[in-house]
């Protein structure tokens, strides 16, 4: 199937700004789904609220555009009640880790078979450029006229500590890599997290003088390095890209099925 067949083409051109990285994430994700050859009817995409969250309206899957920060909680309900479905949950950085931080760590803890995609533009895009828990120190934002003093989360570390069994990071520059990681994440049994650095030229870029979209994308190549690469070894201050965690552990829905099996036996 062509990648366009996974789109709800009637809503194109989409609402994202010119050069918004979220479109590239959509692009990479659809390639992953296409290459895996998953049936559209087997996928539920759940999103929250934000520019990023609008992604669920553009894909021809079952789509649940939910509440800001709560996508993983909705997804947990969908998945547990119908484990045969594949759950894709793209989220903005604010969505996933500001208001949604608790659902993020709890979904990870349970190791429920959901793929969380953090579309990290380090800013609240939808509401016009306020700082997020991933902005980091010293950034300009509409609510940080004097520059931010808030430390940022390391999404990878947090996901790992919370119990995620697959954790990867890449960027919109590394679109092929993104597709690759997304494929692995989707096929992984358990809670998987893929963080994708995704430029917001309109707010983050403009305010922080990071140039236009192509410049921001190019920058992702400069500031990151593949895990295990010489580049990273030589400059550990760079942001690591790659698969940080990939381990097998009991998956929540499967464990629950065992409870049912036991309880139903108890009954008869």
């Amino acid at each position: 199937m062509a990648i366009k067949d996974y789109l709800r083409q009637r809503f194109f051109p989409h609402m994202w700004c010119p050069g918004c990285g979220h479109g590239t994430v959509l692009n990479s994700l659809l390639r992953a789904v296409e290459e895996l050859g998953i049936e559209k009817n087997d996928i539920v995409m759940t999103s929250g609220i934000g520019c990023s969250a609008r992604i669920s309206g553009y894909v021809d899957f079952h789509s649940l555009h939910s509440l800001h920060g709560r996508a993983l909680a909705f997804a947990t309900g969908v998945k547990l009640s119908q484990p045969k479905l594949k759950l894709l949950v793209p989220m903005g950085d604010g969505d996933a880790l500001a208001i949604g931080g608790n659902h993020f760590i709890h979904a990870a803890r349970r190791n429920i078979d959901i793929t969380a995609i953090v579309m990290n533009n380090k800013i609240y895009g939808m509401t016009g450029g306020q700082y997020s828990p991933l902005s980091g120190v010293g950034k300009k934002a509409t609510t940080a006229p004097y520059l931010t003093i808030d430390n940022d989360f390391d999404v990878v570390e947090l996901a790992k500590a919370a119990g995620a069994t697959f954790v990867a990071r890449t960027t919109t520059f590394h679109a092929t890599e993104a597709t690759d990681f997304l494929k692995k994440a989707i096929m992984h049994k358990g809670f998987s997290v893929v963080e994708i650095l995704s430029q917001c030229p309109t707010h983050y870029g403009r305010k922080n003088k990071e140039g236009d979209a192509p410049q921001m994308v190019a920058n992702y190549d400069k500031i990151t390095a593949r895990l295990g690469s010489k580049k990273l070894e030589e400059n550990p201050a760079l942001i690591g890209r790659g698969i940080f965690v990939d381990r097998q552990a009991p998956e929540y829905c499967e464990e629950y099925d065992k409870i049912i099996e036991y309880a139903m036996k108890g009954r008869k």
Partner: protein, 185 residues
């Protein structure tokens, strides 16, 4: 006196800023009342933008404009959408680069090559909106142009004031010349 103006265009054109500058100038430097409001699309980005301004000696209660005296359209989409709402006998201002006037409306339709002139003489699209404002005041002297200059001085970073003033003058010249032309006939 009560002037009702609608600015329309697309997100990146600075339509709203122009509207604010105008209304602010009325309030801050001419002792008038003014309201400025804008409508947002579903998509915060790139969509059609519209801003309504009312300038008046009296209090302004209802702040939206249903039939503007002056309508500015900076995209074809804006013109197609809003062209018909202008008051009969009012004025429609469009930029030749962006708008093809199709069906005529019962109003003075003024097409000006503002964008072209700005790009030629300054080369920065960012001041296009201020040039449009200049054109508007060149056509309809709803305020003194000094008032707008003052607001620009208040709002714009020092280094850019001159460029903005220049842009304003470009527009103003286009507008007033056109009016002279029209009136002359």
């Amino acid at each position: 006196m009560r002037t009702r103006i609608v600015f329309s265009g697309s997100g990146g054109q600075g339509v709203i800023t122009a509207a604010i500058l105008l209304a602010e100038a009325a309030v801050m430097y001419e002792g008038l009342n003014a309201t400025q409001s804008q409508s947002y699309g579903a998509a915060a980005r790139g969509g059609a933008t519209r801003s309504d301004i009312i300038i008046s000696d009296f209090e302004i209660d209802f702040p939206l404009v249903s039939q503007p005296n002056i309508l500015v359209c900076l995209t074809q989409h804006a013109y197609n959408t809003y062209g018909a709402i202008v008051r009969p006998g009012g004025t429609v201002i469009t930029d030749t680069r962006f708008v093809d006037i199709g069906k005529k409306v019962d109003a003075r339709q003024i097409e000006l090559p503002i964008y072209e002139n700005v790009m030629e003489q300054i080369g920065k699209p960012i001041v296009f909106n201020v040039a449009v404002l200049g054109a508007l005041l060149g056509i309809e002297p709803v305020l003194q142009k000094e008032s707008v200059f003052k607001v620009i001085a208040d709002r714009v970073p020092e280094d850019f004031i001159e460029m903005n003033q220049k842009a304003f003058e470009i527009g103003y010249k286009l507008g007033s010349e056109k009016m002279a032309e029209i009136m002359g006939r």
